[in-house]
Every structure is written in C-alpha cells, then in structure tokens.
C-alpha cells in the first residue's frame, strides 16, 4: 500500500487521474473504520489533510464556498450564523472527537443515506464543486446522490467544495436516534425557508436508498404560503397545514426495516420531524418579520 501526501489540490488531482483507484482520506472517520476492520484494502491512501485549499471557506459571488476539508467543528463555530441548517446538522454528528476531524467532503464521499449533512444540502439547494485534471463542474446536491453509498463522482474526480447561499431566512434540521450523541440517524429531516423565491426546501435522510428532496411537501407548502400571502405578512401556520406538510414529507421516503428502526416507524417519525421543524422555522420567520416591521416603524 502507498501513502500519498499531496500538498496542493492540483497535485492530488494529478494523482487521482493517474491512479483512480486510490482512496482519498480526509478526517478518516469513515475510511479508518473500514481499514481497521479490514473491510477495505486500497492500493493507496491519498491524504487530503495537507491541502490548504480544501480547508478554507470564503464568500464566492453571492454564495459561500465551503472547502471539502473544513471539519464540522469549524462549520459550527465559524459559519453557524450564515449556514444555520448545515451547522445544526454538523452539531449532531458523532461526538466532539468526530466533529473535530470529520468533514462535509467526507460525508459526501461516503454518500451514506444516513449522512447528516445531506438533507440540509438538498433543502438549501447546495451545489457540489467537483474537480479533476479535466476541469471543474458543479453538481446540484439533488443530482449528487445516486444510490446507497454511491455518488456522482467520476473515478478521477475529487470533491473540492460545497456552495450554499448564506441563509436569508430560518432553517432547521432534526434527526431521530437512540441517544443525543453518537447516533446514526434513524431518520432525519431538513427544512429551509427561501422567502426571496417564495418557496421552501425540504429533504429527508436515512429513509430511502439516498437522501431525497420532499418535492410534494415543498410544492404544497409553497402554494399554501403564497395563497395566504404569508411571506409578506407572516402569521402562525394552521395545524392542518403543518400536518399535511408532515404527511407529504413522509411520503417522499421509501424506508426499510433495519436494526435501527422499522419502515413504519421511520414514516411516522418523519411526519413528526417535518411538522415540528417547519413549526420552529416558521415561528422564527414570524419573529424576525415582527422585529423587521417594528424596526421599520
């Protein structure tokens, strides 16, 4: 086995082009488990942790570009105000030790249906920037997840960054698990309000072969909100609206029975998560609406 330590992204891409079978390692919180348990014996590891470009974040046009190698702890500490949904999901990952090492790039590379950042990336219309010696392309999160632990990367590509708009309105993420730390989601849900587009992003995790957007729930809510003029003059949502949103969100899933929970439980829990997270996000929106108009007055 080889251990390759590129110091620039260009160097890493050159290696990946020449030896597409090498396994990139960032925080190692997925890769090392596979190595320790002999589930994987790659011909080489490609250490990405020396590549400064990957561990930086910066504004890029009107979006934020978050390098693939920025660990969760920094997303929480440095971007919690601008990317609240991603920060919430990051806070639920593993333990402090895992959050100190684990990265969004690694979450995307592993593409587990249970990965916590995925529903947020979907709900926030994130774009995944991937690169190879052939060039760079942007993949919308909704097109990135292809199957259980399969993503849209070509063999010579690496993930460079994710691009997300700084939140203009409340976002929420919530997950169900057996304890408050160190749990793989039984199911998870993210919602992001996009008032400037008159719509809501919503996505489910750990309840289908891939993380998925809950399109019917998104459309239903967009309709309800604009019909009632609620974006402009926010009022509390009717229970019936929140409940219907929850039902539609649960219908987006195609869950299975497994050790963590049954399909029926996941559907039920998703409906509850969707209803509650929407309630929290909307309540926040009403709150900021009031402060806004008060401070205008």
């Amino acid at each position: 086995m080889d251990f390759l330590i590129p110091s620039t992204f260009a160097e890493a891409l050159a290696i990946k082009a020449e030896r597409p079978e090498v396994v990139p390692i960032a925080g190692g919180t997925d890769v090392m488990v596979e190595l320790n348990f002999d589930h994987r014996r790659p011909t080489a590891l490609l250490d990405l942790t020396r590549i400064a470009e990957l561990t930086e974040w910066a504004p890029s046009e009107n979006l934020l570009r978050v390098g693939a190698g920025v660990p969760y702890v920094r997303i929480i500490d440095e971007l919690g105000d601008r990317l609240p949904g991603l920060a919430m999901a990051s806070r639920t990952v593993g333990s402090p030790q895992i959050r100190n090492r684990g990265t969004v790039g690694g979450n995307l590379g592993a593409a587990s249906p249970a990965g916590d950042t995925h529903p947020v990336l979907l709900a926030c219309d994130a774009q995944v920037e991937v690169a190879s010696v052939r060039g760079t392309r942007m993949i919308p999160a909704a097109e990135f997840y292809l199957g259980v632990k399969r993503n849209a990367l070509e063999p010579d590509e690496l993930i460079a960054a994710v691009h997300l708009a700084p939140a203009a309105a409340p976002q929420q993420f919530s997950k169900v698990g057996t304890r408050n730390a160190m749990v793989i989601a039984v199911c998870s849900f993210a919602v992001a309000l996009h008032p400037e587009q008159g719509r809501v992003g919503a996505a489910v995790g750990s309840a289908a072969p891939t993380p998925r957007r809950a399109l019917a729930a998104e459309e239903f809510l967009a309709g309800e909100l604009s019909d009632a003029g609620l974006w402009e003059s926010p009022k509390p949502l009717l229970d019936s609206v929140r409940r219907r949103f929850g039902e539609l969100a649960a219908e987006a899933a195609s869950p299975i029975d497994d050790v963590r929970g049954t399909a029926a439980y996941r559907r039920h829990a998703l409906a509850v998560l969707a209803r509650r997270t929407l309630g929290w996000a909307w309540q926040d929106y009403c709150g900021t609406g009031e402060t806004r108009s008060q401070s205008c007055a």
């Binding site: 086995m1 080889d2 251990f3 330590i5 390692i25 925080g27 190692g28 919180t29 890769v31 090392m32 488990v33 190595l35 320790n36 348990f37 014996r41 790659p42 080489a44 590891l45 250490d47 942790t49 702890v73 593993g94 333990s95 402090p96 030790q97 895992i98 100190n100 090492r101 408050n180 730390a181 160190m182």
Partner: protein, 160 residues
C-alpha cells in the same frame, strides 16, 4: 514507511509503519506509549483520545501517515513526572476511576474542555464527554471529577 512526529514534546521516529495503520497502533505498538487505549477501533468509545495539533481526536481514526511532522500529545504528556495534572488528580480523588480503561481518553477530553471552558455547566460537561464511554462508573463520579478539576483551576491551580 517512516513517520516523524513530535510526541509530548519529543521528536520521535517510527519505522516500518504500515500505510493503513492508525495513530493509535503506532503509539501503542511502535512507540511504547500504551496510555491511549484500544477498545473499539471505530471512534465510538473515545478511549484512544489524544491531541493532534492541539485538537482532541480519536487516535484510532487518524492514519499514522497523517501525523507526519505534526504534534501529538497523549495522556502520558499531561503529567510532569509524578506530578499529575489537576484533571488527573481530580479523577483519582473523586473516585472516577474503576477499571481505568476509559480514563486516559476521558482525562484528555476533560482536559480539553477545561482549557476551552474553564467553568463548564453540567450540560457542557456531558456534551464534551459524549464521545467517551465508561462501562464501570455510571459517569456520576466522572462528572464530579470534572467539576472538582474546574474548581481547582478556578482557585488558581493551573492546568498544564
């Protein structure tokens, strides 16, 4: 491969390191530092917690090669000879140690917490130690130990 790494302030060199080997294995089996414990090798128990460039990590989830040229501080590096760190003393005095297997990892995690948050609330302590499992104590004495260490530090005894 060969790995050069600073451990507890000393420049060390490990030879014949397998490329897929963890930092934990290198510490315990090649560098004679068995303080960090191996209990799960999958990041779940925290017994292997060490500082890597001043950040607490599970040594079982770091590839040894990723430590080339970096600084590692293990539980062995907290005490100055027989002079224990206040966190270590507090663990002993509070009865937070039974079989002791989880102790090195918990001591490093608690040490880090108290550097960042000198007077942590109970929820902050629980959150900071959420990645460390103990099969013996039931955690109450561990919480006592962290509170004791915090009081000690506040009253002037300095954590190294």
């Amino acid at each position: 491969m060969r790995v050069n790494v600073t451990i507890n302030g000393d420049q060390r060199q490990a030879d014949d390191v397998w490329e897929g080997e963890s930092l934990l294995y290198m510490l315990r089996e090649r560098l004679g530092l068995p303080g960090s414990k191996n209990a799960c090798e999958q990041g779940e128990c925290g017994s292997c917690t060490v500082y890597l460039d001043d950040v607490p990590v599970c040594a079982c989830l770091v590839a040894a090669g990723q430590c080339q040229g970096r600084e590692v501080r293990t539980v062995e590096g907290l005490a100055a000879g027989d002079d224990l760190d206040p966190v270590q003393r507090s663990f002993v005095e509070a009865g937070a140690v039974q079989c002791g297997f989880c102790t090195p990892g918990l001591v490093v995690a608690a040490h880090d917490l108290l550097r960042r948050v000198p007077e942590p609330s109970d929820p902050e302590i629980r959150e900071a130690l959420a990645g460390n499992l103990c099969r013996c104590t039931g955690y109450e004495k561990i919480l006592d130990a962290v509170r004791l260490a915090a009081t000690r530090q506040a009253s002037g005894a300095e954590a190294r």
